[in-house]
């Protein structure tokens, strides 16, 4: 765009609108606690391990699948899963207390070609070239992957890098290509693509994907996740007990309509046989390890693992340790069923509390041992990787998999649900600070103050967790959303966060333990965030300003609106038209993709766990779950949209300081700066001016000085509120695959980076290629000038319960929260926001200068974690786009 222009660099700081660059001297966070030696060693091994993929699981899955051509699809799927689980190579690390993992490596994962087979093929392969022609490859092209930590960013020796993250042994590549080719025209991606082309407006859908107005298709990328797992059935019945339930129902349903029930029960039995073999293979390996061991303590630990696994392959857990191991087994089992991000353990501390309390009361478990087990659990969760394309794993997930553990909230009867085990979960999350599982504290006025202060203590040390979430707002959303499916207040209390920030329905399930009945919470819906994923609002506005054209590629995305755009209302109307068209075509396409997913690769493991699939005999794609209104519309860049609309309204129409034509020209010229893609820097403080900078300076200043969201300024906030109200309402006009209305979801995860990368400068003064504002109610970096309470007023100018979530990220200098007094002030600030109706707030307690130093010297910061969106991630595993954005966030140095 500006290749023909003079690009001489201007260094005059007086022309820098983004504030001063941070100086020297890094303020440290408050001191962290140390993990137990066992967990510390495991974490160190993790930090030195690379993401590694293998072909074992897909090989056996595909082999068995092909052997059963002509079989009922769900049975074929169950047999394929059984064979794959049965053949996974077990590996047990010395010192492990919780055994089993996804695949043969510590950070192991594997391709799932039955979902999508093309993206991991080598570039020379014809299938890959075919994939490149489709619009969906565009998100990969604009994503940057973290260059450090465990990412295998380049092929080295006998290891091939895939998607800039996963290493695959060279010896396995030929069979991977062969296996992938067997799914050509059979995968969910390919079959779905065949049928999605039949929807009206398909060409527009493809252009939307190519322009990266939408980040990715939903049905074959991450078809499950963003939900809360339910561990109830294995805990209550044990694996053999579940098989017995299925056998009884199989007998009752054979020959009785609807016939799908018979096949489902049969499929669950087959799948569980596979899981039993998988578990017992680990028991055999534990005994083998014991046979080689001379250290008596380690030998007995291996033998204990073997005994425990043999027991759990059949029976109910007998102890806290058993129960923790069994929940982990089923967590991994679900993760291996599909490409999944955001499978949350939910309120695990409340699920396991009956076992823990009983062991503590009996004197067979100590708090110290509990901490050690919980720390080991943290390392296990952190090891979870999800194999996906670069656009998904880098551009959306930032390498994370969002296993969110919730604490607090209310119990079945409406009292505080916080318990002592949850305090130990917080303690272990401080002593063994790892990205996963991330924690969310479900804030309610009934929670004890000491519990809340413990949460603050954890947030303060810089873990980024717990995120602080309003129980009241979530329950209001849930009752509105699931009331028609029968949800009552009591059951609304069983909710938890699925994934980053997806409010997910739950149920209370009756767990019987030694003559006592306990009601434990667990998820009771399938993925609560599938459907239309990540619409770039600033990019839609760009299309409005340029009559439907994507200025980056020059391609027509939308039909020309041909409106003269002579008033703000005309711009707003055109925006709503384009946005509505986007939701319409993407809903239709995604409904087809998800339908194909349910037909080709129906969920069996997760379906078995979710109430009420075992009762109804229907899997989750047949609405077997208790709650099924689970498709949503996710957006990105909302605050940049609002700030841009405010700028257009103020400068062009209200005060008429510039014409729309002049504004368009300035946007196309990037206000006289190089684009972020040209400079390779996404930091707002470090953009490079061209020789034409002064030609655009006046317009740029007007844009930057226009009212901005986050300052308690009604001018911008009214636009924000209008958008929010319209957005949440319009989603209900569209029907999901399950014939339920869609709902709005407002998290950007990491998409604000790649979506910003393909978007021109925006009328709010943001420059081309730079990252959008993060979250949904976070202010654009540097634009919130009136302090946190003004930001809270802006953020709560609409009802957050009208949407599945909202997201507020804040960065606070460590000096502000120092000591007990700092903790109390911090907690009061959090409470103030949540009491005003905020749904969520999360914090980076860090000095920006530390982050800048970490960018320059990553080798010194392997363990440094930051909060990105609804997740915490190691700094060195983040892409540069997100690193720059986190650095640029406004840093609060006082609360007042």
């Amino acid at each position: 765009m500006r290749k023909d222009q003079d690009i001489s660099v201007q260094t005059d700081d007086s022309l820098n609108y983004y504030g001063p660059i941070p100086g020297e001297g890094i303020a440290e966070r408050e001191l962290k606690k140390a993990p137990t030696p066992r967990a510390g060693k495991a974490r160190q091994t993790y930090l030195e391990a690379k993401s590694s993929a293998s072909v074992e699981f897909p090989y056996w899955y595909t082999r068995r699948w092909e052997e059963l051509e002509g079989e009922v699809p769900v049975i074929r799927r169950a047999e394929a899963l059984k064979t794959a689980f049965s053949h996974l190579t077990p590996g047990i690390m010395p010192g492990e207390l919780l055994a089993m993992r996804k695949a043969g490596y510590l950070r192991g994962s594997f391709p799932l070609p039955w979902l999508s087979e093309a993206f991991f093929l080598s570039k020379e392969d014809d299938l890959y070239k075919e994939a490149q022609k489709a619009g969906k490859a565009s998100a990969d092209e604009v994503t940057t992957m973290g260059q450090g930590g465990g990412n295998v960013t380049k092929s080295i020796g006998n290891v091939i890098s895939i998607a800039g993250k996963f290493g695959l042994r060279k010896e396995e590549m030929p069979i991977l290509i062969k296996t992938a080719k067997r799914w050509f025209n059979k995968s969910v991606d390919d079959v779905g693509h065949k049928y999605e082309q039949l929807i009206p407006g398909y060409q527009t859908k493809e252009e939307i994907m190519r322009a990266v107005i939408c980040m990715f298709d939903s049905g074959y990328t991450l078809p499950q996740g963003r939900e809360v797992i339910n561990y109830y059935y294995p805990l209550q019945f044990g694996i053999e007990g579940i098989k017995n339930i299925c056998r009884e129902n199989q007998d009752k349903s054979a020959g009785q309509p609807p016939m799908d029930r018979l096949y489902f029960y049969r499929a669950v039995i087959i799948m569980l046989e596979g899981l039993q073999k998988w578990i017992m293979n680990y028991a055999v390996e534990a005994r083998f390890m014991a046979s080689l061991e001379e250290n008596e303590t380690q030998k007995s630990e291996y033998l204990e693992i073997a005994e425990r696994l043999d027991w759990l392959a059949v029976n109910r857990p007998r102890s806290f340790h058993d129960a923790l191991q069994l929940t982990w087994i089923f967590h991994v089992a679900v993760l291996n069923e599909d490409a999944i991000s955001g499978l949350s353990p939910g309120r695990l501390g409340q699920v396991l509390y009956p076992y823990w309390k009983e062991d503590i009361d009996k004197g067979v478990l100590s708090k110290e041992r509990t901490i050690e087990l919980l720390e080991c659990m943290r390392v296990k969760f952190t090891e979870i990787d999800c194999f996906a394309s670069m656009g998904v794993v880098g551009g959306v997930l930032s390498g994370n998999t969002f296993n969110n553990l919730c604490i607090g909230g209310l119990d079945k009867d409406g009292n505080s649900a916080a318990n002592e085990l949850e305090e130990l979960i917080l303690e272990s999350a401080m002593s063994c600070d790892t990205p996963q599982p991330t924690l969310s504290l479900l804030f309610d006025e009934k929670l004890p103050e000491e519990f809340l202060l413990k949460g603050v203590e954890c947030t303060k040390i810089g873990t980024g967790y717990p995120a602080w979430i309003s129980n009241r707002v979530a329950m209001e959303f849930l009752l509105n959303n699931y009331g028609k499916e029968g949800m009552q207040t009591e059951e609304a209390r069983a909710w938890a966060i699925g994934g980053c920030l997806e409010t997910s329905p739950g149920s209370w399930m009756p767990l019987d333990l030694n003559g006592k009945r306990h009601y434990i919470p667990g998820g009771s819906a399938p993925a609560t965030s599938v459907g239309v994923h990540f619409i770039s609002l600033p990019k839609v506005l760009e299309a409005v300003l340029f009559n439907g054209i994507d200025k980056r590629t020059g391609r027509r995305v939308y039909p020309a609106h041909d409106s003269p755009l002579e008033s703000y209302e005309e711009i707003w109307t055109a925006f709503k038209q384009y946005f509505s068209l986007t939701v319409e075509v993407l809903t239709l396409a995604n409904n087809i993709q998800h339908d194909i997913w349910g037909k080709v690769t129906p969920s069996i493991v997760n379906s078995m766990l979710k109430p009420d699939c075992l009762d109804s005999g229907m899997d989750i794609s047949h609405k077997g779950s208790r709650y099924n209104r689970t498709f949503n519309v996710e957006i990105c860049g909302g605050v940049n949209l609002v700030n841009s609309l405010a700028s257009v309204k103020k400068n062009v129409f209200d005060e008429k300081k510039i014409s729309l034509k002049e504004l368009r020209a300035a946007v196309e010229a990037n206000f006289g700066y190089l684009s972020a893609l040209e400079t390779g820097s996404y930091s707002l403080t470090e953009q490079v001016k061209t020789g034409t900078f002064k030609d655009w300076m006046k317009i740029h200043k007007l844009c930057l000085d226009a009212p901005k969201y986050g300052n308690d300024d009604p001018y911008a906030d009214n636009i924000f509120r209008d958008w929010q109200i319209w957005f949440s309402k319009m989603c209900e006009n569209y029907r999901s695959l399950y014939d339920e209305p869609l709902y709005s979801c407002q998290i950007s995860v990491s998409t604000h980076a790649p979506m910003g990368a393909v978007t021109l400068a925006t009328p709010d003064g943001r420059l081309c290629g730079t990252t959008f504002a993060d979250g949904s109610v976070s202010a654009y970096p540097g634009s919130d000038k009136n302090g946190p309470y003004a930001l809270f007023n802006s953020a709560t100018c609409y009802n957050h319960a009208s949407s599945q979530n909202s997201q507020l990220n804040m960065k606070i200098h460590p000096s502000v929260v120092k000591g007990r007094e700092g903790s109390r002030k911090f907690l009061e600030m959090i409470k103030a926001y949540l009491r005003r109706g905020g749904f969520h707030a999360q914090f980076n307690i860090v000095d920006s200068r530390m982050l800048k130093d970490a960018q320059k010297n990553p080798e010194k910061y392997r363990g440094l974690m930051v909060r990105v969106a609804g997740f915490t991630q190691y700094w060195v595993e983040l892409g540069k786009q997100i690193q720059d954005e986190v650095i640029a966030r406004t840093e609060y140095e006082q609360f007042g």
Binding site: Y59, T89, G104, Y105, V152, N158, G167, K178
Partner: protein, 81 residues
Amino acid sequence: MNEIKHYDCKYYLNIDVFKGICKRDKVSINADDPACESFKYAQKCKHCSNFSATADNLGTCMNSYEAYPEMNAVTCDDFKQ
């Protein structure tokens, strides 16, 4: 034993695609480094009599289904030394 790698040894425990630890000696080792004197063949397809090589890193299992020589067969009921 120079041509034989840790990666092919029964006592090799994967950590990642580059490295692992020795189950016997508990030391960190690189997958592609030469094996030691305690080496024992890992249960892999390439060491199975049901496996027939057809090309580089490819073969068949029981003369029917495609297979690959480096695959672990420790969990395979049909493995024959």
